[in-house]
Symmetry: D2
Subunit: 452 residues, 4 copies
């Protein structure tokens, strides 16, 4: 986005889906602006605003290969935006074949119309790709939630063992959040598919009384909605997309955080899929690094600030902004790019997630029954009161930890407890699969919602 | 939010709507958690999870005045959250009257259930107040757009005079953006009205197989939706509200930016309403400072970063977060507070905006016709080609500026122009009210949309 | 900072050092402005700008208890800042005793002078407290680094076991970063101790030709530097403090991240100090939650955005800003407050950190020698080439993992390896304490630097 | 930075200094890593860690042109960072000429050593270029401050006319802030010129007891400092540079804000330098857009969030981070790039700033003496008390505004005023050049400080 000499090949592929990178490439940016100009000519000719004969010449010249992109970039410095040199070069190309048609290039439009509508067209392409990844993530999560609906694992709060849960429920939580995030992004993306067309002041004055008709045709031709008023200096639809994309990044980041924590050498409950050269280390041949999680967590670190930039760019002056708009030009593509890389990485990870059910089970046991403390507390509390049960279990837990014995061993020697609980109660209370509450139903609800 | 000793009275009123400040006060926070606990007891008793007899004792003890808030705050330091000391103190209060009932306080719930659901309840109150301000802003903007549908003023791009527009169209642009921003916030707020209830692991295990039933009743009692799965560590609904609120702040900030620019001494096209003591200066008695705009612009400066904090807090670990959740506790209230102050300030400003139609008209003239350059270029371009017309008008404009003459004077001496344009054409082309395109229709469209 | 009715007692203590909360309280804010006004009167009287007789009356009235803070807050809404109502109320109080003296209150100053210089005075107090915590953290880290200079533990990269290191070296890394962060904050804080005094335009015109003399005396009286020019609308010194505080938060956050990861139930290498009620859970009596780490990580989540707000507030208009300045008023106190809470929490944690040397040793072994892979690779590589050694060890590591055998067992059966390495070599290469490189020297260097 | 297919030519030149773009290009990134590897071999050979004979072969292969950058980028996806494929490809190239030497490529180093030290080398180049722009800005500002030391203009607070000041003093305020910002960046940049070299765990274990010696030589060879401990996962020096760069962006943004406000059509006190095609509009030939200011304001909008990303990336896990480090890789280059574009743009603007002294003078008059209100208030206040004078002038100002008369005209009819002030007093008090306080001395102080 930033460099002068044609770059982004080194770090790009790691962080950005290649198709999204293409959607925001210099060529695609130029193409989108040319698409706007051609559609404009078509719309205007169809309404006799410009001569019909101009359309073919204009359409024929709209060939990205005929432009010298680095030159356009250099000319943008003095012009203050890229549309001015693009329109100038485009007009020149049209003129080479048809002097008359050249008069009608960009007729009645302003730079912002071309830049913003072009950005909308590029955004639509990029969001489609992100959505495909999110669809795949959704399917992977449905499968994981279903497959592991009864796989017990420990729930961890503040990174400490808490109670038993299931991996299916953890996956269902991820699923539910991804479904919401994807729907939000889809809705925001749909709203953003809106034409910007107002001319220099937003009045479409250069088109006399034909402004609204041209706008309608132009929007239709580009498969965009026509807004109630031109939205130059009101970039809220873009910012809404940015926010929704930021939430996608945060949600994927949460999944990546959990996954990378489960991948820890000491925990080993899940791994990113193995592949030759994947996640290896030059000096530690045994490593299997969470490289996709790192991409998603990097994206989750960057996205909030790119969203904030979009928001900060909103206080735009009068009918064209001085700084805020310009800050948004490259920020939205960068954000969607970053999110695309995260979505691709987590798609890959979740599609092939290597789940270690035995390790999940083994980790449940390492506190020697302490994760069952609540089960016992609740059972006991129903009989002797929650407060007293709590104190009793708290003391027993401390003793168990101090004496390196299991909680069960300690409790069976407590007369109060023995009086309240039978051996069968003990068996049941210390079996994690008997303390899963409505985990199964919650998983089912999440899957149903995801499929709705 | 931050101080220990009861503060916020000095800077608070300037930046926060007092009713919203109350909605997020310590008392309201405590009350919301107590409301959750009472509703929980009711729901559980109705399903025979706890004895019916416990409900009255629990409900009776839920009196904010009986709590020592500073003590609760100090106990939260060791506990790590406010729910632990609150539940402890609440249980103590219940026990004073009914030892048995005290056993059933907070039955089957975890701290996060109380904190997050409490936050949802407070949020709903605060958003209602913000929405009222936005409704009032909407009505003011409809009135301004309508009243000034034909009031010409200059459109400014990059702070330079561009073309004529109307103040009605500028207000319609504000209106259209506020309508969208308000709808987004309403939708996000509605989604956020969702119960959090999962127990320590999200499985509701402490309630055996009654978890879902309790959740349904509890949600219904609190007028919240019951989610497909508990959403602890998935804070996206809160973040969505934050983003939508951030867009509101940005939109109000844009209006404030425009208004304060129009209020500049040299421009004088609009002023914040006058009131005794309002916007005065201690040393410059003649000043009428844009104090409301300053509040809205300060909010627009702060909001993006509060949104970013919410987003950054999303990568939450496993079943309870270590840092991300805690960062969100005070950030969302702070953001909504900041937005409320902005909404209140701009509501006041727009309700009484002092519009100076003469100044708008006078400013249109100060470039001696240069803002009509496009009108002439388009008219001329239709006859001699846009590129040539552009060059010709550009040269004439420069000459006009250099010679301190009006563009019209210069142009009438250009033979090419004289050949192409009649005196009537000149009259029309140099009358700004004849170059307003579809401004009127756009205003009407925006008002129609706002009312839909 | 935000609420109207005297709040912050509930969440405040958890996140903010109480002394810092007091330093930024409403009372302290008012006091600092009064301190400015009194020092101003003294400086002006000493230079015969105002009558000597006015000083005593002005000084006597500067009593915080005589002010109605909530009223001041409400009056600030119309005034646009707090200095206007404070100066008005102060003048009234002076007038009650000495009508003549009241004429000379705030003489030649503007609101921004009082607000900004007051903020500098409060900042100095707060930074002193933060610095004390950082000093204590430094001493704790020196002690930890020294005590554990030879305590082996596993180094983890991307949360995977990598190689052996020592806990001393990890602590030395923390130490080195804290020392740098503390020095940066001290330097930035020293630069920020600069008087703001310029009058309404920055020219000190109301003082005729005595402006610089008054500024010098005033600065001296308040123990502040006198700047080359008034810095209203150039808030870089505050932003520099904010950035340095943000780096402190990030550094403490990194320590908290590491500590909380070491506290995981499965890892158990370190714990926050135990204390009654500390880190407990209402439903899981055995838990020992990293509550201080949560505070530090929450601070590290919030601080970047508060810094960003300070930076975003820098583009201030002309001689007094419209939004940017106002956004900074409460943001810097909030940031320093957040950082103070983090520093206090990590001070407490590091002073009493419970290090489990046995667990560190045990965790080193769980990969059955794989963390020694590099040691073997390097030794082997010196003889057969790094690339070949790398491939060989990679294959052996995979076999070891697949066959659940130790790396050593697998390697002793490799003829190439056996030819290159003796039994003694094997013993040495698989002893983690023999592969610690210059860890000891690095720790010594860090301690030396910290003490310099 | 992000795209896959070689981009950045379109938007890049507008926002980034081309030399800085080159310093952060893919080629430069690769070159810096190769520079590290060659210097490492040299240092190790000089200490007999690797054979002397290997150095030449390693140095000869370090030719950027021999690498396929897009391939490296694609391989980085599986590897998780760019150093792994670069080292692999580099080793292959060395091996082509010298199989033996290839064994010693990257000896004892880890990916992070190469990436971070490479980044330091690139940063040093880029900061030199930024510093040159800031030096030029400083010189321009000294010249402006000096030339306009006595040029009166109006000071504006909250965009309202306040009092007279001089353009020299405004420029001196800019100057003073730029000098501080430049010094901070230089100091932070100097601290950041620090070697990262620790091997996989930070212990340099692969180098046995020679680790510190190699580090010393390596640092010396690269003109970097050797740190007390390796700083992997402690990125504070980079973040400090980022913060300092952010303050530069904010300071330049403030200058751009002021300049663009002075460029407003109605105000016309200053303009960016004219040049063919510069700041023109395709449809409004008369416009002279503040294109450089737009670049600087866009940079000031983006920089805070890039700084925040750097800060947010600080909470890095253990001995190599999972997300935080990766997020910083492209963020720091992007931030410095953005700042370079701002510095270049404002350098250009300030070097050729077109100051309109007459407009400044004319604007001073448009309030018909109201900006002299403070002068009169102070003079009057000295005789009748500030409060009474304030009220009297406030009333007179209102009358003047209401009756469209000058303040002087109104005041001469006020008996109280007439009694207190002579005709000469009136002449003096209504001459803005007589109410400039110590503006001249302040300018001199700022210039002296800038030159020190």
């Amino acid at each position: 986005v930033l460099s002068e000499g044609g770059d982004g090949s080194l770090y790009g592929p790691l962080f950005v889906d290649p198709a999204v990178a293409r959607a925001f490439s210099d060529r695609a940016t130029l193409q989108a602006i040319l698409d706007f100009e051609v559609a404009l000519a078509r719309a205007e000719a169809s309404l006799d605003v410009i001569p019909d004969s101009a359309v073919a010449a204009i359409a024929n010249a709209a060939n990205v290969d005929a432009f010298d992109i680095p030159s356009l970039g250099r000319e943008a410095v003095a012009a203050g935006n890229i549309a001015i040199p693009i329109v100038r070069a485009f007009t020149r190309l049209v003129r080479e074949n048809d002097e008359h048609a050249a008069r009608f290039v960009h007729w009645g439009a302003t730079s912002q119309d071309a830049i913003d509508t072009g950005a909308v067209l590029q955004l639509a392409v990029a969001l489609r790709i992100v959505d495909e990844h999110l669809d795949a993530v959704t399917q992977s999560l449905i499968a994981l939630a279903q497959r592991h609906i009864a796989t017990p694992m420990v729930a961890r709060t503040l990174l400490q063992h808490a109670l038993p849960t299931t991996f299916g429920l953890k996956a269902a939580g991820w699923l539910s959040a991804i479904v919401r995030a994807r729907r939000r992004l889809a809705r925001a993306g749909a709203h953003a598919k809106t034409l910007q067309f107002g001319g220099a002041a937003g009045t479409l004055a250069a088109l006399g009384d034909r402004g609204l008709d041209v706008a309608q045709r132009l929007a239709g031709d580009l498969s965009l909605a026509a807004p109630d008023v031109p939205w130059h200096t009101h970039s809220d639809r873009f910012v809404d997309v940015a926010s929704a994309a930021g939430i996608v990044a945060g949600t994927l980041g949460k999944i990546a955080r959990d996954t990378s924590l489960m991948m820890q050498t000491e925990i080993g409950e899940a791994s990113e899929p193995a592949a030759p050269g994947r996640g290896g280390s030059s000096t530690m041949p045994h490593k299997r690094n969470p490289v996709s999680c790192a991409v998603a967590l990097a994206a989750a670190t960057r996205a909030p600030h790119l969203v904030a930039t979009m928001l900060a760019g909103m206080t735009q002056e009068h009918e064209r902004a001085l700084g805020g708009w310009q800050a948004q030009w490259t920020t939205l593509p960068e954000l969607i790019s970053v999110v695309s890389g995260s979505a691709r990485a987590m798609n890959e990870t979740l599609a092939g997630l290597d789940v270690n059910v035995e390790a999940m089970r083994a980790n449940l046991e390492i506190t020697h029954g302490l994760v069952q403390a609540e089960a016992v507390t609740m059972a006991l509390g129903a009989q002797i009161g929650r407060a007293q049960a709590h104190e009793l279990i708290e003391a027993a837990s401390k003793r168990a930890m101090a004496e390196h014995r299991s909680l069960r061993e300690v409790l069976v020697r407590e007369p109060t407890v023995r009086a309240a609980l039978s051996d069968d109660d003990f068996d049941r209370l210390f079996d994690p699969t008997h303390y899963l509450g409505v985990a199964r139903q919650l998983v089912t609800q999440a899957i149903t919602e995801a499929r709705s």
